[in-house]
């Protein structure tokens, strides 16, 4: 019997409450009249499917009831579903981004063992620097910690691909053959590079991305074995990489074998490579670091001139995301969580109101014998149904929104730009939906059947002080969440304004920029380069509307323009103690073209040719660091050889808009002993009109001077500057949208709370008015209640916001985390929102007819 009762526990509690005794009686009767074994057999045979069926009956009934109830109050249903959809949608999209950029393992075999290797100059504050080919060569020979160690040229190299339809401009890089075994990737067709391909003088070959191969040849298969021209040199396609292969970054479409020519191996100060390696399974990261540390010390001793104080950094490939990119993603996710919380509080509040409004219905159901458990089930079914609808809608919102977040995916990672939406994202959405539905549904559900007595049947508008207070706390929470978002968004808006207001130190309006990377060895003779530059510049300057034009090795905001140590012979001889400056090789008229003011001495001009005295122009800050109290003009420095300082110009933001710590040094284009990496390649044209309108004529001129010369990166300097703030603007747009949604949800919450308060206090309003209160005092009474909530929310939000924005500090760009204007504006907006949300219910109360309201009760 005990066992039978135990089995009955499979049935829902309400069913047992109703029928357990009956079923036991039947069981006893049967045991008396039939064979025990037959009775037990039939019990076992029946009980499992039947219990499931009873559960299903109840669920079906609950669902049917729920759909009917929800249809009866479409306003409530739509508001709740939309609120959940927004919360779940925002969170799912933000999670997809977070997962893609920061959590998901990199798309390579055993990605945990992948590391990058790079130079460090920690005493100089440089945590991650490129290394030189000879250094990499030594690492590869000396190290034992890695299964494979490869290298690639870090700066993307734009090449002109022709010989197959329209010429296209693509980013390429040079990589060493080991990279493929390091990453464990195979081509979809053809082969990857082998160690034979590394030999200097070998055939010109390349690997092609899947997308380029398909667009040029129709399919990956037909591309392999074909040839294309890269900057007019014929290359054979030996393989096509998988579509998802994005190494070292997603912009790279072509890979060529890195070949260590004698010239490359001769120069230990030519920092162009990053190393990538696969750790040996028996070697820990710490052990590898220790080994590389030892190698660094050996190299320092062997090459004191170039390698003094140069260490070797080993970090996991996954960890190469900059802290700022990481923070950008975290901020978006944090804001989404905040929005979800607000949506939850909002829906919870709506449910409380419903429970209160349905007290009569509940009381009736209790009176006719509905079990408390059935009521709880009923309310939970309602909240889960709404949660499910909101979750599905939210998932659709998220899938649609994810592509727009791709700008926030850090470019430093070898992953595609668009976050993938797969089962992980679905699982996350399902989890958030379930957690949300339970969070907002459980309280009201368990509350629903309690304290119901005959009294509620009579006093229909009965209110409970405790739930009133709870609902007020929920609304205060919504307001507080909104204020926190407003403050964070406000501070970031102000930071963006600050960044946009930075004077880069040069003129951007009307400047056209394009790149002509002169190929080697064609342009190895300096006379050939001189002829090209003057041929182009003379004719461009003659174009109508052009006031000035110049060539420079890398245009401003090019992150890969290198830096050099600037010493003073006999004073600062150690290059590692010397200040460093971004180096630019320029043609005459450069300063005039960009409007960079000359402070002292002269500009670089036509007299600075190959065999004239070697000269340099410093930026102001570099001059001050070298000679704090003296005039630098006429002094000798050591930078790319011994040179005389002939001029000082104003500083500019040279590599990144948000980093103004770089100084600059300028050398004449004709006086360079550097590899082709620094040959002036960026043409800058200053015009009075629309910069881009000049592009066709400039292209024609370049084509006339050298018909084979490829042109790339055609853009206005203003666009280059705009791109500097693109991630910030996308982040703000997302954050701004979340804030507006939170703001609307909170306003709906206030409106709902006060509407309900007004409807339950109509009788009180009637009595007050009958006793002489005028309409204005009734209006004031309800508005005051709204403002009280707003003030509560603001007071709660300020310390939270102050705490939260401390984590944003590195994005704030000079804006104080406690900026009073932003806090004031956020508080003011919250007050406006509150008054906006409360005005309608308050007016309704004030417009009431006192007699009618009293009679109605």
């Amino acid at each position: 019997m005990l066992f039978y009762r135990l089995l009955l526990r499979l049935y829902p509690a309400w069913f047992r409450a109703e029928y357990e005794e009956e079923m036991c009686a039947v069981f006893v009767q049967r045991m008396r009249q039939e064979r025990a074994i037959a009775v037990w057999a039939s019990v076992f045979f029946e009980i499992f499917p039947n219990a499931v069926a009873v559960h299903a009956d109840a669920l079906r009934q609950d669902l049917r009831w729920t759909l009917r109830v929800l249809r009866q109050s479409p306003g409530f249903t739509v508001t709740a579903v939309v609120a959940i959809a927004l919360g779940v949608g925002a969170n799912t999209a933000a999670f997809a981004l977070l997962d893609h950029a920061l959590l998901r393992p990199l798309p390579f075999a055993d990605p945990d063992r992948l590391v990058t290797l790079h130079d460090t100059q920690l005493k100089q504050g440089v945590a991650r620097n490129l290394t030189s080919p000879p250094n990499f060569f030594d690492w590869r020979t000396m190290s034992r910690s890695f299964d494979a160690l490869g290298a690639y040229v870090a700066a993307p190299i734009a090449v002109n691909l022709s010989g197959r339809g329209e010429p296209v401009r693509l980013d390429s890089t040079f990589i060493s053959p080991e990279i493929f075994s390091v990453l464990g990737v195979k081509p979809v067709v053809g082969r990857v590079f082998s160690s034979d391909d590394e030999l200097v003088g070998g055939p010109d070959i390349l690997l092609m991305s899947h997308s380029v191969a398909s667009s040029l040849f129709g399919s990956a298969e037909s591309a392999v074995g074909n040839t294309v021209n890269l900057d007019n040199v014929t290359h054979t396609i030996v393989g096509v990489m998988p579509a998802a292969f994005a190494f070292p970054s997603r912009d790279i479409q072509l890979w060529r074998p890195l070949r260590f020519t004698a010239a490359l191996l001769a120069n230990r100060s030519n920092h162009i490579l990053y190393g990538v390696a696969r750790l040996n399974p028996r070697v820990s990261l710490a052990e590898a670091r220790a080994e590389m540390n030892g190698i660094a010390i050996q190299l320092q001793r062997a090459y004191p001139k170039d390698n003094t104080e140069t260490g070797i950094g080993v970090i996991k490939l996954r960890d190469t995301v900059s802290p700022q990119s990481r923070l950008m993603v975290m901020v978006v996710f944090g804001a989404a969580v905040c929005l979800l919380l607000i949506a939850c509080m909002n829906v919870a509040n709506l449910f409380w109101v419903r429970v209160l409004a349905r007290r009569h219905e509940i009381a009736v159901r209790v009176a006719i014998g509905a079990a408390h458990e059935r009521l709880v089930r009923q309310f939970l079914t309602e909240s889960l149904t709404i949660g499910f609808a909101g979750g599905v809608l939210g998932l659709i919102v998220a899938v649609a929104a994810v592509p727009s977040l791709s700008v926030l995916v850090p470019t430093s990672l070898p992953i595609p730009d668009a976050p993938q939406v797969d089962w992980r994202i679905f699982l996350f959405a399902a989890f958030v939906t379930l957690a949300t539905s339970i969070a907002f549904g459980v309280g009201p559900a368990f509350r629903s059947g309690r304290n119901v007595d005959a009294n509620t049947l009579r006093v229909r508008s009965g209110r409970s002080e405790r739930t009133d207070r709870l609902r007020q706390v929920l609304v205060i929470g919504e307001i507080a969440g909104t204020v926190v978002l407003l403050i964070a968004a406000g501070l970031l808006v102000k930071a963006l304004w600050n960044v946009q207001a930075i004077d880069p130190g040069f003129r951007t309006e009307g400047v056209l920029m394009l790149r002509t990377a002169l190929p080697s060895p064609k342009y190895n003779p300096s006379a050939a380069r001189r002829a090209f530059y003057s041929g182009v510049l003379d004719r461009v300057r003659a174009l109508p509307g052009v006031s000035s034009a110049a060539y420079v090795s890398y245009h401003p905001m090019e992150f890969f323009s290198g830096r050099t140590a600037v010493g003073i012979p006999g004073v600062i001889d150690d290059p590692l103690k010397a200040p460093r400056a971004v180096r630019h090789y320029i043609t005459p008229n450069f300063f005039h073209t960009l409007g960079i003011p000359l402070r002292l001495g002269r500009e670089i001009d036509a007299r600075d040719v190959e065999d004239s005295p070697q000269v340099a122009v410093l930026s102001e800050s570099l001059g001050r660091r070298l000679w704090p109290a003296e005039d630098p003009i006429g002094r000798t420095i050591f930078a790319d050889g011994k040179r005389t300082v002939v001029g000082v110009v104003a500083d500019i933001a040279s590599r990144q808009l948000e980093d103004s710590t770089d100084s600059q040094i300028y050398f004449p284009a004709e006086q360079m002993a550097m590899p082709s990496y620094y040959w002036p390649k960026d043409l800058l044209v200053q015009s009075s009109g629309n910069a881009m309108a000049l592009a066709p004529s400039v292209r024609r001129i370049i084509h006339d001077v050298d018909p084979d010369q490829a042109i790339s990166n055609v853009q206005s300097l203003e666009d280059v500057m705009t791109a500097q703030t693109a991630p910030r603007r996308v982040q703000l747009r997302v954050l701004g949208m979340f804030t507006i949604l939170a703001f609307s949800l909170a306003a709906i919450g206030i409106h709902g709370l006060l509407s309900f308060a007004v409807s339950t206090r109509m009788q009180e309003v009637g009595v007050r008015m009958a006793l002489g209160a005028d309409r204005r005092s009734i209006l004031g009474m309800f508005l005051r209640q709204g403002i009280f909530l707003a003030v509560g929310g603001i007071v709660a939000a300020v310390p939270v916001a102050y705490f939260v924005v401390q984590t944003l500090k590195s994005l704030l760009f000079g804006v104080s985390p406690g900026d009073p204007v932003v806090y004031g504006a956020a508080g003011f907006l919250a007050l406006v929102m509150t008054v906006g949300g409360s005005i309608r219910p308050a007016l309704r109360a004030a417009a009431a007819d006192p007699l009618a309201t009293i009679r109605a009760e």
Partner: protein, 115 residues
């Protein structure tokens, strides 16, 4: 509720209505009645019975009755069920439906006897 919206009745439901046609019965009596009527072929389990009863209560086919038989037969725990007027309507409609079906079957030669 519309009579025809409940048709066709699940066989168990129809058997329970047949069992209750003459007198109010408690659960075990219903089981026995059905078993006797079908020559022991259909033995309803307790769970199946009360799941059906629950649904029939919701549909208004039966009610629980408070009138009890003579004390000697009575057991404190037992609930007795009585067919409602609506339940009789539904049972009759179901019987007509079945009779019609049998008529069709006979015409097609699936059942012995005259059409």
């Amino acid at each position: 509720m519309d009579v025809h919206s409940l048709l066709p009745l699940p066989p168990i439901t129809f058997h329970i209505l047949l069992a209750l046609a003459e007198e109010d019965l408690h659960g075990y009596a219903i089981i026995q009645n059905v078993a006797a009527r079908t020559g022991g072929e259909l033995k309803i389990g307790a769970g199946t019975l009360y799941r059906s009863i629950q649904r029939m209560l919701d549909q208004g086919l039966v009610v629980e009755t408070r009138e009890r038989p003579a004390p000697a037969d009575d057991d404190e725990r037992r609930r007795y069920y009585r067919i409602t007027e609506f339940g009789r309507h539904v049972a009759r409609a179901e019987a007509r439906r079945l009779a019609q079906l049998v008529k069709f079957a006979r015409r097609s030669g699936f059942v012995e006897g005259k059409a």
